[in-house]
Symmetry: C2
Subunit: 249 residues, 2 copies
């Protein structure tokens, strides 16, 4: 069995371990003590060097910690290994991996658009984005993802980030703003309002770290969120003007 | 059969006529020529005076035209008549009707939270809000609404407008802004983004008149929409600051 190192054993690392343990000899590592969680899932723990010295190495740390983690594993990875990440943005992690990891390893950037919550019923049909970074092994990653039942798309890191500026950054900005102003679950509600309430439900428990990563570390996000806010401001101003006009009639 | 006057024979007036023609002798009027639409539904057309001189008079004109319409019918309504409106905001129309209509008529303010699109499968379960304005006939209106299968809530105009500042004003502001910036139907999408796309679908065809009415003529709307925009702005600023911090690390 090939050895699979998971670096970062948080919510996603644990979900990955559960689905990989039957296919690989999994070694996990984290800056926190994750012995109990690893034992519960039935995978080994090891040092950063142990996890980095595997046939496949998955970076499952928060994006904010990724550049430092890549620098730390660069001298530890073995020639011929495959290194992949699972961050919610793709251009920056792809660049960091490409610049810091030795030429002797292949690199694939991935974004699983699911987590323990959405995949609690299984992986079937869950979306996985795969981007080639160095070498040709993105085909192998896609094939393995499909064998797990995932719905795999192969695209570029740039195209991924362009789409996610809408799909994630804008959605999380609106959802988080609605959660923060505490929109009430009114008795009289329309289907339209129900969509806002359900968006709040999906976003409420996400971490601030994820929110900042989605907003800041996607180079296209700021433009799209600014465009939305400017449009909302413009509509408010236009409607106040229309109100003054009709009051003057 | 009691006579029922419908003033304003647009999308909602026509929907109402279709459901009232079996229970009342319906007379409709409009500033535009609506003879064909009335004939298709099988109701009579008449002058403003004909429609205003009925046992029940429904104001189904745009909110922007309502104060002028109320002033025009005030000398035409018969003592003992019931006058009701169907606007999306309730405090202003209730006040306009109360101030301008003679003491001899009863007044009920209503908001049907549905239209030809949402009620194309029938009225069953569609929400109707009923507010007492003058007299006790809101109970009769509620009872009649229930007999049509509507889900009727009796509340005050103020409570209605407070709730609708969220349910309508905020929802339409977000939906209209998303429609205007043309958010794309991406191939890679999450459930959260799907909610935004469906919100756009529900709001896309609404008129600017309705949008302005919901935003301007509800006295609570501006505060809530400003609060949302300020929160979105604050989140964007906070995330840019977090980005600069992590770039400086």
């Amino acid at each position: 069995m090939k050895r699979f190192g998971i670096i970062g054993f948080g919510r996603f690392g644990q979900l990955a371990a559960r689905h990989l343990r039957d296919h690989f000899s999994v070694v996990v590592t984290d800056t926190a003590d994750v012995g109990e969680a690893a034992a519960a899932i039935g995978v080994k723990t090891g040092s950063l060097a142990d996890a980095a010295d595997c046939d496949v190495v998955m970076l499952a740390v928060p994006v904010q910690a990724m550049a430092a983690t890549i620098a730390a594993i660069a001298p530890l990875v073995r020639p011929g290994a495959l290194v992949l990440d699972v961050a919610s943005v793709k251009m920056l992690p792809a660049r960091w991996m490409l610049e810091a990891l030795p030429e002797s390893v292949d690199i694939v950037a991935t974004h699983p658009l699911f987590g323990p919550q959405s995949a609690r019923g299984g992986l079937e049909g869950q979306p996985l984005v795969v981007c080639a970074v160095r070498g040709e092994r993105h085909h192998k990653v896609a094939e393995f993802g499909r064998s797990l039942g995932l719905s795999v798309s192969i695209t570029t890191a740039e195209e991924h980030d362009r789409e996610m500026a809408y799909v994630q950054a804008l959605t999380h900005l609106i959802g988080r703003a609605l959660v923060n102003i505490r929109i009430p679950d009114e008795e009289l509600k329309t289907n339209s309002y129900q969509h806002l309430l359900e968006l709040c439900g999906l976003i409420r428990d996400d971490s601030k770290e994820l929110f900042f990563a989605i907003q800041n570390l996607n180079p296209y996000a700021e433009e799209i969120t600014r465009q939305f806010i400017a449009e909302a401001n413009g509509l408010l101003a236009e409607s106040l003007k229309a109100g003054n006009r009709s009051a003057a009639d």
